[in-house]
Point group: C2
Chain length 425, copies 2
């Protein structure tokens, strides 16, 4: 006998509309195959007169309570975006025992504890596959397929806007500002691009991803965050000359009880699988003790891919309404004081300097690194402006703090640090 | 309170040993996190005196009934390989209500209906994530994450041995026989390599993969199968000259009610994501109406990756013992006569001919294609042996049957068909 599942939507724009159409299109097939009769009974919109016309007007409402408090609604799907009121609405739905499906990384990352606690208390489910990597089934792969493994690295291109910008800068040597303006014209970047280009979006996603991968709560505040606004075509060109491709990466690593989480522009070896993920694609690389290396790539955004991921959650949640599947956390910094978030990670570094072209400058540079036991793997020097030289070097593995000290020591009348970009092998 | 799950192993070689060690290593963490107390209580081996010594002797048995009929055993994990007695044993376990986890694509593909029917009758679970693509979570991605989508293509590199051989042939221009011999020495190919190089292994996996992706039963017999034994370094070199990389692909496509399933060497555009999957890696590409394109790559074989995938299944199965998750099938050729398996698919084709170098030969070649409305996209001619010319061409999209007819018409005293390789764009 068919199980009726009644959905309420919070928001009904492009993504909500996509979900509506996919579920309507597939209704009979899902009913026949899975015995689930999915009905969309309510959709909260800002303004009914301005709502999309391809969704029946009779389900639209401007009153959130019609969705959050209607006892007939089993599941609430949130597509509002932004932190509030989305987080508050989701919490209310969970408290009322309604399973919540969301793609909202910001609301989730910033209210992780509140939302998970509300779900645990009422026994409702909370699903957010689409919040990271769009259609890429990374949350479920980590929580189900890799549940028995010990994941030590999860690393990815999780923001399509910045990947599009960096790809175009690399392919055509264009400047950041020019590509950004063009991306804004094409609708690939927001009028206020900060959430993407300053790495906020990637940091929210990394907070979620590493919480799941490492079975502990990694709050957004723990994430070291740098964006791409300072990247120049020169950096990209020199990196390529040395065999590297530039990506904005979200990197989570765990070694014993030490965790590092960081979002920053990163040079990858040209033959690294992530180096070839171009344009607005997303991809996530995972390494574990047993699974070894694995990579998942797909559309990180877009109405249809996001709708596909959300509908996967809806059907999965519908099959587990009475007994929701929740990611398991073994320990948190609160319960396990040995858990440490480090900002003194190990990496290789690309450093571009501009130096007065005078005897002794290269020796000074070499000394500053050597004094902190940082060894240089490769170096190239090029004449730059009149009387100056560009010095580009890549270090061997070094500690972040030591590198920062070396850069401080370097900065002088003679030497300016034009850029420092971490290198992942 | 912890739920005790008692496992019985069928086989305890490299993979069984890997699963034993991973579950032992992670026992306390899984118990704390998931409330599952996983106990390995019995392992069937061929010979106790010859069994591995890193698994406790007290759990070993040479009698399959000790595993299959012990009412204390909740779940049976099969690592024997080969069709029989593995399939018989799994059927017996399922009939006794025990959930079965297996990585055995051959036993599963050849006994799909029997095993699924036995599981359905007794209400036991049947899980086989590790049977296709090793650690790549493709089965679960298709059955859960993409359950609401409409998949029209699933296509992959699912055999590591042949990918290793083709990669080396491409990189070093080595001959098939030489690389095979070397792969056998390195333990990367079996002494009898037929299962891999003739495409049987890939065909078993495609049968499973397309059954899941298309929600219908695609029997092994429906799969068109060609291996790589006839591939020459020349084919690979000419393909590269024209912008293509050669891979042994398993291809499943669905359009409306027509399904095509085929395993054969395939030229891919150099910038296709699958073209860059080298060595013994596996990767699976999926295309759906909403998810669009997606690719998952990882280790397709090896003790540890396989153990990781199997343990993922074990934990997932353990959480669903009472109410197992089974892939859903909407229709089968038996219940839906409109479902059609076609062997007259559309593709582009790479054709290499050897022709007597005499006036009119090229016109004859062109005529044979034109007469069947096959249009040629690119062509190159090279002198080959004395008085002969090599003609290499790539067609536009054409029907398989028309192409085969054109090749039959071409074959003559003047022209020999050296190779025909399908091209996927």
């Amino acid at each position: 006998m068919a199980k009726i599942i009644r959905l309420g939507f919070l928001g009904c724009g492009n993504i909500g509309g996509g979900v509506y159409h996919l579920l309507t299109e597939m209704h009979d097939e899902i009913l026949a195959r899975d015995g689930l009769d999915i009905q969309i009974v309510r959709a909260l919109v800002k303004s009914i007169p301005e709502a999309r016309t391809d969704v029946p007007a009779c389900i639209l409402t401007e009153n959130a309570d019609d969705v959050l408090s209607d006892p007939a609604i089993d599941m609430v799907c949130e597509y509002m975006g932004g932190e509030q009121p989305a987080a508050r609405f989701m919490e209310a739905a969970l408290k009322n025992g309604k399973t919540v499906v969301t793609a909202n990384k910001m609301a989730l990352a910033l209210n992780w504890h509140t939302l998970h606690a509300a779900a645990a208390r009422s026994g409702a489910g909370l699903y957010y596959e689409a919040s990271v990597g769009g259609v890429i089934p990374i949350i479920r792969s980590l929580t189900i397929s890799l549940e028995a493994d010990r994941i030590d690295c999860v690393m990815g291109i999780v923001n399509g806007t910045t990947n599009y910008i960096l790809t175009r800068m690399a392919q055509n040597g264009e400047k950041y500002d020019d590509v950004l303006a063009d991306a804004q014209r094409l609708g690939l970047a927001e009028p206020n691009p900060a959430a993407d280009v300053d790495g906020f979006d990637a940091a929210y996603k990394l907070s979620i991803l590493s919480s799941i991968a490492f079975h502990t709560r990694v709050t957004y505040e723990k994430v070291h965050r740098e964006g791409i606004t300072h990247i120049t075509p020169d950096d990209i060109a020199y990196g390529r000359e040395m065999g590297y491709t530039l990506k904005l990466l979200a990197i989570g690593k765990r070694s014993g009880n030490t965790i590092e989480v960081r979002v920053h522009p990163t040079f990858l070896r040209n033959d690294h699988p992530l180096a070839r993920v171009d344009g607005s694609l997303n991809a996530i690389y995972v390494h574990g003790a047993y699974c070894q290396d694995m990579m998942l790539q797909g559309r990180g955004a877009g109405d249809k891919p996001t709708a596909s991921a959300i509908c996967g959650d809806i059907l999965y949640a519908a099959s587990h309404l009475a007994d929701p599947i929740v990611p398991s956390f073994s320990n948190t910094p609160d319960t396990d004081p040995s858990l440490l978030f480090s900002d003194d990670w190990t990496s290789r570094y690309f450093v571009r300097l501009n130096a007065v072209d005078t005897p002794g400058v290269l020796a000074h540079v070499a000394d500053c690194f050597a004094a902190r036991s940082i060894s240089i793997a490769s170096i190239l020097q090029r004449p730059s402006a009149e009387g100056h030289a560009g010095i580009i070097l890549i270090t061997h593995e070094a500690r972040e703090h030591a590198l920062q000290e070396a850069l401080s020591a370097l900065r002088s009348d003679m030497v300016s640090v034009e850029s420092m970009i971490r290198v992942e092998d």
